[in-house]
């Protein structure tokens, strides 16, 4: 499978990063950029925030003291960091903002700035819906949240198993439970927010 060859050169590049080789780091950055962005966007629903958190993820890569010569599953590590950092960001934003003023919760200068947009009402609606999804995701357990985001991003069960660190055979169960949790929470939130 293509990923086997890829992960070999991941190991080489990672070795390079540990030896402070700029180009190795840059190669990894470019290699994982799109995937990490996708994962983060699923969590955050906002371009600016996704870009911001992405920067943090790669900073963590840069700083992390991987043991040299060790077996590292770099992609699983990166995706896990992305999920963590994304979640931390959501939590921080939620804490920061006023519950009544949910519009502040999504730092989406892009959407606001685009005055030329076709339908501001539509945009506002989308943003509101995204905020709900984000809240639901925030309330899930880490494993459930990770499973859902990764699956939605197109990861296979095998890949999800590596990131979430469960047996591949358990992913189906985890996903089913995660979806049930999401559904329940979503309904509850909509009920709560309905009166607004």
């Amino acid at each position: 499978m293509a990923s086997a060859a890829l992960s070999t050169s991941d190991a080489l590049l990672l070795e390079g990063v540990m030896n402070s080789d700029e180009r190795a780091f840059e190669a990894l950055f470019v290699r994982y950029y799109d995937k990490i962005y996708s994962i983060l966007f699923r969590l955050l629903g906002s371009r600016n925030e996704s870009e911001d958190v992405l920067q943090e993820v790669f900073l963590k890569l840069f700083q992390h003291p991987f043991r040299s010569g060790g077996e590292h599953n770099l992609s699983a590590w990166l995706y896990k960091v992305a999920l963590n950092e994304g979640y931390n960001h959501i939590r921080a934003e939620t804490r920061r903002s006023n519950r009544e003023d949910r519009a502040q919760q999504m730092n989406d200068r892009d959407l606001r700035a685009r005055q030329m947009s076709q339908d501001p009402a539509q945009e506002a609606l989308l943003k509101e819906k995204r905020l709900v999804v984000r809240s639901v995701l925030q309330d899930l357990s880490e494993r459930h949240r990770s499973c859902l985001v990764l699956r939605a991003t197109g990861f296979s069960y095998a890949e999800i198993a590596q990131v979430v660190e469960v047996a591949p055979g358990s992913v189906g169960t985890l996903l089913a439970r995660a979806e049930e949790s999401f559904r329940v929470r979503y309904v509850a939130l909509n009920r709560e927010g309905g009166s607004q």
């Binding site: 870009e51 920067q55 840069f62 995204r130 189906g172």
Partner: protein, 374 residues
Amino acid sequence: MTCLKMGTLRAFLDGELLPSEMVSVQLHISSCALCSEKESQLRETAASVLSQLDLMVPMPSEEPQNSSKSLKIWKERTVEKYSIGNRLMRRFRMINQALSRTRWRYAALTAGLVVMSLLVAFTPAGSAAENFLSVFRVKKFQAVTLNPSDVPKPPTLADIGVMEMGSQPKTKKVSSQAEASTSVGFSVALPSVLPNGFANTPDISVSDGTSFKMTFDLQKIESYLAAVGIRGVDLPANLNGATIRAEVPAQVAFSYRGDGKYLTGGATKSPTLDVPPDLDVEYLREQLLKFPGLSRETQAQLRSITDWKETMIVPVPSGSASRDVSINGAEGVLISNDRSNGSSAVLWQRNDVVYGLSGNVSQEELLAAARSLK
């Protein structure tokens, strides 16, 4: 067949079972009302959750920017061009996380800094700029006046430990600026304005990079400190055998001749230094500032260094003067000695290349030449 587990059904929905399993599950579902019902429910839930999650997908205007652009931002924002100082700090942080803050660690750093600064301090009079013991990636220079009487007997390398050179750098003459550039891997610049009487036919030579390793010998250091009467420095055992490694990249050197005068210069990509991970640079600085015997002037000069990791200390023997200069916007330092043969030297840095120029010409001529480099 016993009824199917939820996990199996869910995997079936995603086609994540082995082909044979897919077939047998399908067969079972078509004959089992319960499992068929379960499967529908799972499918419905999965679909509705996915439709919510599909809201979290970029619209055309929310697509990620070009990864190179993001990388550029990352570099600018985060790491200040991967300076060696930051790489070192990264390693420090790693180790700092592991080590607890013990007294011996700070004492080790003190001793390390003292030794390092002594190494840097005492260069043969008049050639300060040419003596490169480079510390960190150089972005700035700070001249520090050191009076030999600050320390009664300067240490030699033998007093501190063992110095090993990686490989003998090979030097060769080249016949053109272009050839030099190819050799050293960066664009070599030469002065286009020369002092009166100078022929525009420089000798140019290049040498390839090399590295140095300095390994501290605790016994030797302790003996030295005792011999010069420096007390109060607590050297821990782990300083023994601690190694500092300096990488000196390829360099170019050129020289011009005039009427009994000379003008020489050189350039090198910023040298780098690897220090043992438990060397806390900030702390070292604090210790150095407390070192007995430093004159007020020296202390003030050292204290004025804010980017400790990016500043090369240029030792200036007393009797020489130094001042900050600007070379086409780059910060540099000019050192001149006031002996009768009046030589001066200027050092500056641009785009991670460190340049030096010196000669027994007037300061004005030297600066004009430096500013004309291209």
